[in-house]
């Protein structure tokens, strides 16, 4: 693979590229799913190919192919150059990439148990056990569970001398129970609504202990059918760490993507209110709000050795003591700001170009015990596990729904609440944060389904959070 990668780079230079990179990727995904006591899906998916990205003058081109041969490498590289020359017909500003990237080395996700060495019988057994427990509750209409194992083997090279090999392992999964009564439908999922996923081996799944949580998940879905509907008012809101992880993803992660700020996602994923004039001057959140982007934390879905431009993994503050201080960047966008890339470029496969993607964007722990946040709240609502999510194209106006809520009265959780929703504007919401759980309650979640770019790419991102409290939030938008 290294030879083919270097051949592509030589061809790119011969054809007139001033910069080029190539990624040769072999991806394998194995999935197992059960539903209502039956095996619902069992699949093994493999995709192999390469993609060449070239910069000719100030114009980019990219071509890719599933056929990894010397002849095809030359053809595809030449095609990428031809495409770049076509891009130059509608030219933009000069492209600068900053200091050359000459990284070399190998990286392998630390794992204890290779997920592809675990038998299908064991994977299905784990899911069927949890499924059977959920189905013992007669109120459950649909029970299901899924696990996913992923391995990406990547070879990266560029014309500046970088040559890298990485093997990234991911595992993820979730169980859920759906209860139906009349026209109402209630779902509970564990550990998360989106299939909690992280880099790591099969131990990542075992640590989540699906079977131990199946009975609770089932009974909560049924109990929700007769719960009170979330009241409509402005009140104090406490979010569990999984819902907060998605809040961070949508209202912190996406607006700090510098390509959005520069308008290159305007037509699809949208732009950002965090324009460059606000860097270092905007009070994004209250002084206890500290947000970090890193690609180094164990089990993070945004953890790797180098990004897809060969920039090493790193950690960058985005919000420090409430002040907006940093972006997620590529080489090209960082250069526009006079900065160096902090390594956020990733592609979801060999046939896609790298885009700025969240790594692990996390809310750093605060000082509170989770129980004390509740005990310190006279009146409010606690919400847990995402059910719906929506935010505007500038990442300001948001509305989220959660699977479950509890009314809080005089420092205690009281009534169970269903159909919980809350809404707000990003800076006001984060400036109203007055309590964040400590490191004991902090968990690094994985969101495996972040869509961006055209053609659409689906990327996994990590988000760490502990439960936190927000004041004067509008809840109960939908009744």
């Amino acid at each position: 693979m290294k030879e083919l990668a270097q051949q592509a780079m030589s061809t790119a230079q011969l054809k007139g590229s001033r910069y080029a990179d190539v990624r040769i990727i072999e991806s394998r995904t194995q999935t197992a799913g059960v539903k209502d006591g039956n095996v619902d899906s069992l699949g093994d998916f493999e995709s192999v190919g390469f993609g060449v990205r070239v910069l000719v003058g100030n114009a980019w081109g990219f071509a890719s192919s599933a056929d990894i041969t010397r002849e095809e490498v030359d053809r595809v590289t030449a095609l990428a150059v031809e495409i770049a020359r076509a891009s130059a017909l509608v030219p933009g500003k000069p492209v600068e990439l900053g200091v050359p990237i000459r990284s070399t080395g190998t990286y392998v996700t630390p794992i204890q148990i290779d997920p592809f060495s675990v038998s299908i019988e064991e994977k299905l057994g784990l899911l069927l056990d949890a499924d059977a427990t959920m189905r013992r509750n007669p109120g459950v209409k649909v029970s299901e569970g899924r696990v996913t194992s992923v391995r990406h083997r990547k070879t990266f090279a560029n014309t500046e001398g970088a040559l890298l090999e990485q093997t990234i392992y991911e595992c993820g999964g979730a169980i859920s129970s759906t209860a139906v009564s009349g026209n109402d439908i209630q779902v509970r999922a564990y550990p998360d609504a989106f299939r909690c996923q992280g880099t790591g081996g099969w131990e990542y799944i075992l640590n989540e202990r699906f079977a131990d949580n199946a009975e609770r998940v089932a009974s909560e879905s049924v109990a929700l059918l007769s719960a009170e509907v979330c009241p409509s008012k402005v009140t104090t809101l406490i979010l569990d760490s999984s819902q907060l992880a998605l809040q961070i993803h949508e209202s912190c992660g996406h607006p700090t993507e510098l390509d959005r700020v520069y308008g290159t996602e305007a037509a699809f994923a949208g732009r950002s209110f965090l324009t460059t004039d606000k860097l270092g001057s905007l009070r994004y959140g209250s002084p206890i709000v500290n947000l970090t982007a890193d690609s180094v934390r164990n089990t993070g879905l945004g953890t790797f050795g180098w990004d897809d431009e060969g920039v090493p993994a790193s950690s960058t503050p985005l919000v420090k003591n409430g002040e907006f201080v940093g972006y997620l960047m590529s080489r090209e966008t960082a250069s526009q700001l006079g900065l160096q890339s902090n390594g956020c470029m990733r592609a979801d496969g060999w046939n896609r170009i790298p885009l700025i993607r969240m790594t692990n964007v996390s809310l750093e722990p605060g000082t509170w015990e989770a129980e004390d946040i509740i005990a310190d709240t006279d009146e409010g609502v606690y919400m847990e596990t995402n059910r719906s999510w929506s935010i505007d194209d500038m990442r300001l106006n948001f509305q989220f729904g959660t699977q479950l809520g509890y009314e809080i009265k005089h420092g205690k959780k009281t009534r169970l609440l269903r159909n919980c929703t809350y809404a707000g504007m990003t800076p006001e919401f984060w400036n109203s944060c007055d309590a964040i759980g400590n490191a004991k309650h902090w968990k690094l979640w994985g969101t495996p389904n972040c869509g961006k770019g055209e053609p659409m790419q689906v990327m996994g991102t990590g988000h760490g959070a502990a439960p936190a409290r927000f004041r004067n939030v509008r809840i109960g938008v939908f009744r």
Partner: protein, 442 residues
């Protein structure tokens, strides 16, 4: 290697009771522009072979993009091994047999010949017009050709070539934006001048918007927004799987007059007015299915699995390609909302107080059984007062039951637009008497 040869190699190697092969050869290119220049320009050549092996009532799936004979034989072995390592699933009744297929042409050789330079020329028209108007344009154009084939050990063999074209742009001023999109299977589906003019006109119309006031409004939706109504209704319940799991808005409403009598929703994969796909991923002909007939709910679409679980049901040819994540179930991918007799100008002229909306953005289900959806308006939300557009408001958030909104339909446009948004939609503009907005953005 031809699809026939790929299928024959796998069928010969498979030890399974039944074997199915789904093949897709794809050559797709996309030119993306922003800030009035091309910033991304990509092409992909790929093929994907999916093998489903059946042992008893157990299924295993293996997917690869390698077409050498040994890889194909290995694929059959992997799928068969997976099938054997699981309990029987009594809900699975086997692969379908061959059914007669209609020949539907949705292939334009001009699309396959469309070079990056041709796409750049089109993009250049939009960027130049935006520059001349003092605006900034962003958007993309996709051209793609694919060969889709399905074969199985029960005699199914189907293959079809198709092309797709999709172009869209958002044109932005410092205070407003406008949107235009065109899709189809012919290269001529995209008129670059028309796209640019539409988006620029909308941008001009929306400059200096006021804050929107939450409340219930009469709304007039461009086809871009109308397509979202159908898309969310499809996702929330036009599938037999959703219906059988009682999470569909059709549950409890079959035979009921739920929507306005003006509303007829049909899925038709054979109609070349849309973006046709004549058979599904089980090789079954896509039947024309009326989901809502003059406001009355008729029923969902089926694949062979969901048909096998429901006495009297048959596959309507709506099986989806197997996903790595889960069984998605059948889905309508060629939806038509039948037109009426009106147009946007008449709808505006007949409205005393309302909003004229270009499109919806980031819509997500809040309550699937009533298709309650939250989302934002985007790229043009205009105030209609006394029969005229009197200005614009900033994008607004809504939380609204699409069923209730469609029940309040008072007019449908006579002309439909074909749009690609993950599936194909052929929809007219629509006027709805009641639509609830909960907040405005900045």
């Amino acid at each position: 290697m031809s699809f026939k040869k790929i299928a024959d190699t796998i069928l010969a190697a498979s030890p399974a009771d039944q074997t199915e092969i789904v093949y897709r050869l794809r050559n797709e290119s996309l030119t993306r522009f922003a800030n009035n220049h091309i910033h991304q320009n990509v092409t992909e050549s790929n093929h994907e072979i999916l093998v489903r092996c059946v042992s008893g009532s157990r299924c295993g799936i293996a997917v690869s993009n390698s077409t050498d004979p040994e890889s194909l034989r290995k694929l059959a072995r992997i799928a068969f091994d997976l099938a054997k390592q699981q309990p029987e699933n009594p809900d699975f009744k086997g692969l379908p047999a061959q059914a007669p297929l209609e020949k539907v042409t949705a292939f334009d050789p001009a699309v396959t010949a469309c070079s990056p330079a041709v796409r750049a020329k089109g993009v250049g028209i939009i960027c130049q017009k935006a520059t001349d108007a003092g605006y900034i344009a962003a958007g993309s154009m996709t051209t793609g050709a694919s060969l889709f084939g399905v074969a199985n050990s029960r005699g199914v063999f189907a293959e079809a070539e198709s092309t797709i074209v999709d172009a869209s742009t958002v044109v932005m001023s410092p205070t407003s934006s406008g949107w235009a999109q065109a899709s189809g299977w012919k290269l001529g589906s995209v008129d670059w001048d028309q796209l640019a003019d539409e988006a620029i006109r909308k941008t001009k119309l929306g400059e200096n918007p006021r804050d929107g006031v939450p409340g219930e409004y009469t709304v007039i939706l461009d086809p871009y927004a109308t397509s979202d109504l159908l898309g969310m209704m499809a996702a929330d319940g036009m599938s037999a799987l959703a219906f059988q799991e009682e999470r569909s808005w059709l549950n409890g409403r079959i035979g009921e007059k739920t929507l306005s009598p003006q509303i007829t929703i049909v899925d038709d994969g054979q109609d070349i007015a849309g973006i046709p796909s004549p058979f599904d991923s089980e090789g079954q002909p896509k039947q024309r299915v009326t989901i809502v007939d003059a406001g009355v709910c008729r029923g969902p679409v089926f694949d062979s699995y969901t048909a096998g679980r429901q006495p009297g049901a048959v596959s309507t040819g709506h099986a989806m390609e197997q996903s790595a994540a889960e069984r998605v179930g059948p889905l309508p991918m060629n939806l038509f909302l039948r037109p009426g007799t009106s147009n946007v100008e008449e709808m505006i002229a007949s409205t005393k107080d309302g909003l004229y909306i270009t499109r919806f953005w980031y819509t997500r289900p809040v309550h699937p059984r009533d298709v309650v959806v939250t989302g934002m308006t985007r790229d043009g939300t205009y105030v209609v007062r006394d029969g005229e557009i009197s200005g614009a408001v900033k994008s607004m958030r809504f939380t609204q039951s699409y069923l209730e909104a469609l029940a309040s339909t008072t007019a449908l446009g006579s002309t439909c637009k074909t749009l690609w948004a993950g599936g194909a939609f052929n929809v007219p503009p629509i006027k709805l008497e009641k639509f609830s907005f909960t907040s405005s953005t900045r």
